[in-house]
Amino acid sequence: MQVEIRDLGNENIDDLVNICVSQSGISHAETLKEGGLRKKMWIEKALEAFGSCAKIAYVKGEPIGFVEFYPIQMFPVLRHLVRDRKTVLVTCVFVGGKRTKGLQREYQGQGIGSKLIQALIKDLRQRRIPYFNNEKAEEIAIGSWCSHTGFPENLPRLRKFFFKNGFAEAPEFPDPTGKDGILIYDLLK
């Protein structure tokens, strides 16, 4: 299967939003669709401020997954707690496709998520980020529902996925939720 990973830019914002607010077989509330418009507005600003903040996976030209990321200081509460490193926080990793029993699973378990993560690692190893005074990021943090919060039944599988991609637990990483389990990829190693 041919998978293409493209950076998010002004030309493919809708692709990202449409993955979030799936167009395939779900009856969405108007408010959720409105949330999609809010995301589009935010992404337009984020692209100007930080440059590309997501990578999108395409199969046969169709967007089917993404990884989204921002400088961690963007996140309220965390901005005073983060350690003295240039940290990029992954807010979301998702691979979907057609729905099976309500869930979008068509393209899961086929290595597409790893391709997205590896593309992000490769990118951040060389990219200079305006938010970090044009210096490179030093680490990637996964602290979302992908690791320690969200759907409990999925956590072991997701953690295994990140370990496989070179992430490790960072018990010392600030976590105001007290849940622990933040995962880090050290870009300096």
Binding site: E30, K33, W42, E68, P76, V77, S144, I182
Partner: protein, 104 residues
Amino acid sequence: MKPRAKVEIYYFGCCPWSYFFAYGGGFLDKEWAKAGGDFREKIEKLGVEIVEINLLENPELAEKYASHIDPYNPFSSHKRFLLNGREVSKEEFFAELSKSKGSL
């Protein structure tokens, strides 16, 4: 006398679901195939003042009123219901509005 009603919605601008959940939305079936149940349309019809706050653009407000949210979870959200400037529960908010519906 009709109360001055206001709802503040705190959401992560990077996540449509955060916005949706902030308005009380959720999945309506076990298959996650139908989403709804939010109160956005209801408060719009009632003429309630709505202030939407993107947590990523307003860290001071987020820290003041929504410091308990999980900052690592983009689905996180928060809402405040205010009657005449006083924060009340969702139940009290809608009960008061219901009582004064005639004057609204």
